[in-house]
């Protein structure tokens, strides 16, 4: 090779080396130095973070009956940058989803990459639309898996279960209070699309599986709930009260077995419900409890050993002027024992019970029974109630509070107070959640009974229980609350209705009955409250005559449902008692006559 040829050869080689060096440097520049910038740009254009929605946990009753579950639906979304034929797409969506064409055109012409077209489309309709889009070769429309919340029992237990909002966040009831457990954790996946909008599976990036929400088991037994719902509906039909509440609670553990309020609403049609229908009146409604509050005065006096159950108190023959204001009884009573004060429901007697221990001690007992503070049940929006401290009491407050005036309590607080008597003096936190489990049955959290304090001694509780048995007897104010074959302890309440603008509404009453069954070994405590019930005669609007029979119906059916053993000796004793003691038997016969007048034949 001559020198000139060699030079040419070297030049060509150098040119190639230079050229490839430039390519190499450019490659290094793009791949290494500008890597992050271009990778970001590429990701922005092609990589999507696909959210994998976690399924919300279901809610079950104590027997694992489903109260709230999910049904799969699809959300139709569009990527306006990938639409192949806007006009055809609009026409198809208009026909299939019944959305106005103008609205669709505005949305799809926006140029946005994530446009929600329709939510909660049933899976079958979504599949049909998907096929039509595929057949028409229309691109840019996607389907996201979603779920909608369904409540199979409609309005039953509506105030307890609650509901979720648009984004599946609980906003009322257990749905809200147990949100942390029910919600679960969404997963995600980074994916890349090709030009046709299809995922390129090998290019999948980081991925995290979703964790479905946990199952929440309630203490409520739908069998009992159904009984309560039937009875509260019957009461609404019969007495047309403004509001009504029935609660059943297991006194030893604080478990709520059933709870119903009226007015109510259908959880599946919640958008049509009025705010008044959505209130869980058992925990957010404040009422003057009336005579049911006398159990607090009696328990306080007995527990302080100021009096015994058979101690006699003079009840002023029905009218007592105290502090410059008259206090009446519904009948003129002379001397009554503490037991009879409860059985006959003497206001003057109850006032004297409170006076025997004084303002401060009485207030302490009211607070120890749990009034004036939230019970702690796992439901949102519970109120404290109103219990004023003794410093703000008037001179007559000590005589009015024992009969359930000048205090504001919730129905649940009253039920809890009676449960304290029923379970030997222990104040137990009421609870609605039994446990939280994973879908495979693994227990995540189990709620145990919480005993807050020993309010009164077991002996005092027993004494009060004995007195309360007399209330549901031929001598008491609630003979109509009796259940054949069972001993019941209970207390009636009839309070004039408080006017929100001050004072009381004339002729309007909040009637209630609070009791437990069987009296010896209580299986449940029950409360029936009717606000402004309408009776055939105004003088029949008493707790014992209106709420008592409702309690009887509920308790009888509940006892049968729980398979409680009836006290057969009592059933046998009645005819004997009628023969040997004709006078009480006459009174016994009078009770159904009054009830028949009350029911007016409309009750089942």
């Amino acid at each position: 090779m001559n020198p000139s040829s060699r030079t040419r050869c070297v030049l060509v080689c150098a040119a190639f080396i230079g050229l490839f060096s430039i390519f190499s440097f450019r490659l290094i520049y793009l791949q290494a130095i500008k890597h992050d910038e271009y990778a970001g740009l590429a990701a922005e254009t092609h990589v999507y973070k696909q959210v994998i929605h976690a399924e919300r946990g279901i809610i079950l009753d104590a027997n694992k009956e489903v109260l709230a579950h999910n049904v799969p639906v699809e959300t139709v979304v569009a990527d306006a940058t990938l639409l192949s034929d806007v006009h055809a797409t609009v026409n198809l969506l208009n026909a299939e989803l019944e959305i106005p064409s103008q609205e669709l055109t505005e949305k799809l012409s926006s140029g946005r990459r994530y446009i929600v077209i329709k939510r909660e489309l049933p899976a079958a309709r979504a599949n049909a639309l998907r096929e039509k889009l595929h057949a028409g070769k229309l691109r840019g429309i996607y389907f996201e898996h979603d779920a909608t919340r369904i409540y199979p029992n409609g309005s039953m237990l509506c105030h307890v279960i609650g509901f979720t909002d648009f984004d599946h966040h609980g906003i009322q009831g257990v749905e809200a209070s147990m949100e942390e457990y029910l919600h679960g954790q969404d997963g995600f996946r980074f994916i890349e699309h090709n030009r046709a909008g299809q995922e390129i599976v090998p290019y999948r990036g980081q991925e995290r599986d979703p964790r479905d929400g946990y199952q929440v088991h309630l203490t409520v037994d739908l069998g009992l709930q159904s009984i309560v719902e039937d009875e509260i509906d019957a009461a609404m039909k019969e007495y047309s009260p403004q509001k009504a509440t029935i609660i059943l609670m297991r006194p030893q553990t604080g478990e709520i077995l059933a709870i119903a309020n009226r007015p109510n609403f259908d959880l599946n049609l919640r958008s049509e419900a009025k705010p008044e229908q959505m209130k869980n009146r058992a925990i957010i409604d404040m009422m003057e409890p009336g005579s049911t509050f006398k159990i607090v005065a009696a328990a306080s006096a007995l527990n302080e050993r100021k009096l015994r159950l058979d101690s006699q108190l003079f009840c002023e023959n029905g009218l007592w002027n105290y502090g410059g204001s008259p206090l009446h009884d519904h009948r003129a009573f002379g001397y009554l024992s503490v037991r009879d004060i409860l059985i006959k429901s003497s206001n003057i007697g109850a006032a004297k019970l409170a006076l025997s221990i004084g303002d401060q001690k009485f207030y302490e007992y009211i607070r120890r029974f749990g009034f004036g503070e939230r019970t702690g049940i796992e439901l949102p929006g519970e109120i404290n109630g109103v219990i004023r401290p003794p410093q703000t009491w008037s001179k007559i407050s000590i005589t009015r509070i024992p009969m359930g005036h000048e205090v504001g309590v919730t129905p649940l607080q009253m039920t809890t107070a009676m449960a304290t008597i029923a379970n030997g003096g222990k104040l137990v936190t009421p609870r609605i959640v039994k446990s939280v489990t994973a879908s495979d049955g693994k227990i995540i959290s189990a709620v145990s009974p919480v005993v807050l304090r020993q309010v009164i001694s077991p002996e005092t509780a027993k004494q009060i229980g004995e007195a309360l048995r007399g209330v549901v007897s031929d001598q008491g104010t609630a003979a109509a609350a009796a259940v054949p074959g069972f001993t019941i302890a209970g207390k009636t309440g009839t309070a004039q209705k408080v006017n929100p603008h001050g004072g009381y509404d004339h002729g309007k009453y909040v009637v209630s009955f609070l009791g437990y069954l069987p009296a010896d070994h209580p299986e449940f405590v029950g409360l029936v409250v009717l606000d402004d019930a309408h009776t055939s005669k105004p003088e029949l609007n008493y707790g014992g005559l209106v709420a008592g029979p409702i309690f009887s119906h509920v308790a009888e059916k509940a006892a049968r449902y729980l398979d409680l053993e009836p006290h057969e000796e009592i059933r046998k004793a009645i005819p004997v008692q009628r023969v040997e003691k004709p006078k009480p038997a006459e009174r016994v016969r009078k009770v159904p006559a009054e009830r028949i007048a009350l029911t007016d034949g409309s009750r089942r």
């Binding site: 579950h69 898996h145 599976v201 259940v483 000796e569 009770v591």
Partner: protein
């Protein structure tokens, strides 16, 4: 001439040639394998996607069916059907229940006895 041609003729190094051929074949096979495996990867990706879709569809169908079962077996629905007479059920009367435990007898004859509520008793029958 023949001597000269024979002198200028290059010899082929068979071992080297073989090495090159092997390397070329290896590179070619590697390239083909790469292409094949890449295609397989895409193919498997498509299959994976199809299986995932099928699984999602089955899950959806299962959830829809579970929802229908929950709705049909809900207490409200069953009670409605009972009232309609679709379900024939008769409540067990008290007289048909045999109890094995003996009820406790009240010790005190003077103790307050609960009264019978005849209306409720009538309804329980």
């Amino acid at each position: 001439m023949n001597r000269s041609r024979r002198r200028n003729c290059n010899t082929v190094n068979a071992a080297s040639l073989a090495r090159w051929i092997v390397m070329t074949v290896f590179l070619a096979l590697a390239g083909l394998a790469y292409v094949y495996l890449t295609l397989q990867l895409y193919h498997l990706g498509e299959r994976r996607k199809a299986v995932e879709n099928e699984l999602a569809l089955l899950r959806t169908q299962n959830d829809v069916a579970a929802g229908q079962i929950a709705a049909l077996t809900s207490r409200t629905t069953l009670q409605r059907r009972l009232k309609e007479g679709y379900l024939k059920m008769i409540p067990v009367s008290e007289s048909k229940i045999v109890r094995l435990t003996v009820p406790a007898r009240p010790t005190d004859e003077e103790a307050i006895q609960p009264v019978v509520n005849p209306l409720a008793q009538h309804e329980s029958k």
